[in-house]
Symmetry: none
Subunit: 214 residues, 4 copies
């Protein structure tokens, strides 16, 4: 995990940092329970008592580690955000060529959400619970993509492309990762790689170029 709890930017305030090993375990248990609770019921329907029940601790113990319901949520968004990044980054770095990198990113993203379906409910709900977290998550993600695809300092299209790619990924992850698994992640990634390489109709002849590393 990248971060542990939640200040304004998703980090736990110092005075809530567990001092003992036992404390650390309890805090981790609460954060995991919160992911389960919010992933299942959403932020508003989820409750602190639901979290502590899942974590197997007393209600009051929650406030030993987090300042408020909002605070765990922020910590959670930061945590999930970091998790996706950490999961996807190595594959992107290992890819040969720009299109291949985006292909790898999408592929790993779909794989990741298939095993962490709660991520959508958590990150999307941030739009309502903590808009700053939400914006930060997507802005930094888009910037990362833009940095990868930018062809030079003059490239004015990179930002638009980055948002487009991010949007594709998010919706394809929802459709083929969370809602249904009726198509393999590799297949989806191939189709998109070809789209990025040759456009939407050029791709209808086959999406092999991506693998050759353009």
């Amino acid at each position: 995990m990248a971060t542990d709890a939640a200040g304004p930017d998703g980090n736990v305030p110092v005075d809530k940092m567990p001092r003992t090993e036992r404390g650390r375990r309890t805090q981790r248990a609460i954060l995991d329970a919160a992911a389960a609770e919010f992933g299942e019921k959403g932020f508003h329907e989820g409750s602190i008592s639901g979290i502590t029940r899942r974590a197997g601790v007393a209600l009051g113990s929650f406030y030993t580690y987090f300042d408020s319901k909002d605070a765990v949520f922020r910590a959670l968004v930061a945590d999930m955000s970091a998790q996706v990044r950490d999961h996807v980054a190595p594959a992107i770095r290992g890819a040969d060529g720009r299109i291949a990198a985006e292909r790898a990113g999408l592929l790993e993203f779909i794989r990741f959400v298939r095993t962490h379906k709660e991520i959508y409910r958590i990150i999307d709900e941030a739009e309502f619970v903590d808009p700053a977290s939400f914006r930060r998550h997507y802005s930094t993600t888009a910037e990362r993509i833009a940095a990868r695809i930018r062809t030079g300092p003059e490239d004015a299209q990179a930002e638009v492309h980055a948002w487009a790619i991010m949007g594709m990924n998010v919706f394809l992850g929802l459709r083929y990762g969370v809602w249904d698994e009726d198509r393999s992640p590799e297949d989806v990634a191939d189709v998109i790689a070809s789209l990025l390489a040759r456009g939407i109709f050029g791709s209808r002849e086959g999406a092999k170029g991506a693998k050759e590393g353009i």
Copy 2:
């Protein structure tokens, strides 16, 4: 507008259907007020009393026309969903060629959200308030796109492309329609048209093809 209030699929139950002209006006006022309230505060922070205050009617009058807070929300999602569709459809129909159609769709979509910024808060929050509405909205939208771009009955990529296009549009609308207006809708639409036509790097030379109607 397509629908007026809200049953399970977003339609008002018969026993809530206004029988007089006066009733019809009141119901419309409440639905508009709900769009404002939820768009501004979100579903959970928004309140029935906030809605009736905006609508200028008594609290109890709300229940003359809607069964519950959830019900107006459903009606609203159906209503907004229909509004975007109705706004974008003519431009798409009038476009010359497939790529041009998608370009027109995105262009009008960004224009629409610039004047209806509340649409994101409303449709996105449906994921938590009424998942069925949320899924229906995006599934039907994707199907509509797929129908436009499908090259033939064998075209297995159309669905993936449709979800990709929808994802691009949604995120570009958020970025360049709601969050910031630092780039013209036409510019964004051109960039994407080129991407669809020639791929991400082919497009770096210019997105003129779209206008010629491919």
Copy 3:
């Protein structure tokens, strides 16, 4: 029916008395609908709109004929109270002997409640809605019984006996008239006639005496 609507003692106030034949029909429809509504749902769960819906008239029309929810209820209690009395009275008058009269009263009472199961919900709920109606109903009923069984002006036991008989009848009506019909009214009436004639254990040899008219 004996009475039509509801003042403090269960009669409709003059200004609510229908002047036309059409009005009379509407009022009767409302009263019958109220019996159904309250019998089915009870006073508190029952609603004016439920009544008018059953009666097939507009909500506002209710107030043309009754002053309030309490008022219909009072009218109803008076109405049902009179109905039982009117149904049971002839049988009692026609009976040969005191025990036979009580037997006939119970027999007809059970028969009556089997076809008017709502009577319990209505009269019993009066204890909470309109204690005066409730008390009046049982007091006058007890007095009627006492008058029948009193052996003379000195008979101090008659009142106690009357309440005892009324209590038996009410509970036997509930058990063998409303809740279950697993024993014939005649059978029940025979058992009680014998109890009244010879006591609880004397009766175990048979309850024939009642028929002979003691």
Copy 4:
């Protein structure tokens, strides 16, 4: 007392069971307050806030111990039901002979209701609030009586007699215990004992037999 709070059958759900002594005291205070509130105002007119005010606790504390207004009510019916039973049982067991047992039961019942006048409002209102409790209360009471008076396995009249006796008791308790105390409980019990022993007219000569233990 037999039960403390209220599930479907009048028992508190486990998750509402107080874990500390302090909790136990609070729950008891709320239950007593509910008896007072409902006894005085009835179920529908009584309010949760009325209960917590009487109990001297915060409104929200009510829900720490009971799931709903209905739930306390159920708990209360079970509680009162058990209280009468526990109050009357020893006198019945100590009586010499069957008639004497019934006499003792009635006597103690009248005495009990004189000091717990709220019992009628509570148990009778169960007919509307929680029919299952109501039926359970009277069914088990009748069975207990039947078991006492049954002369043998063939005795088909016992059940009818049991309901008759219960009905007498309930109405005599209402008349001479709750509404008016113009006749001593002993006197009433004597009259009924004689009725049970010799029938209604046999008893006019005197009800001495009961005391001799028939």
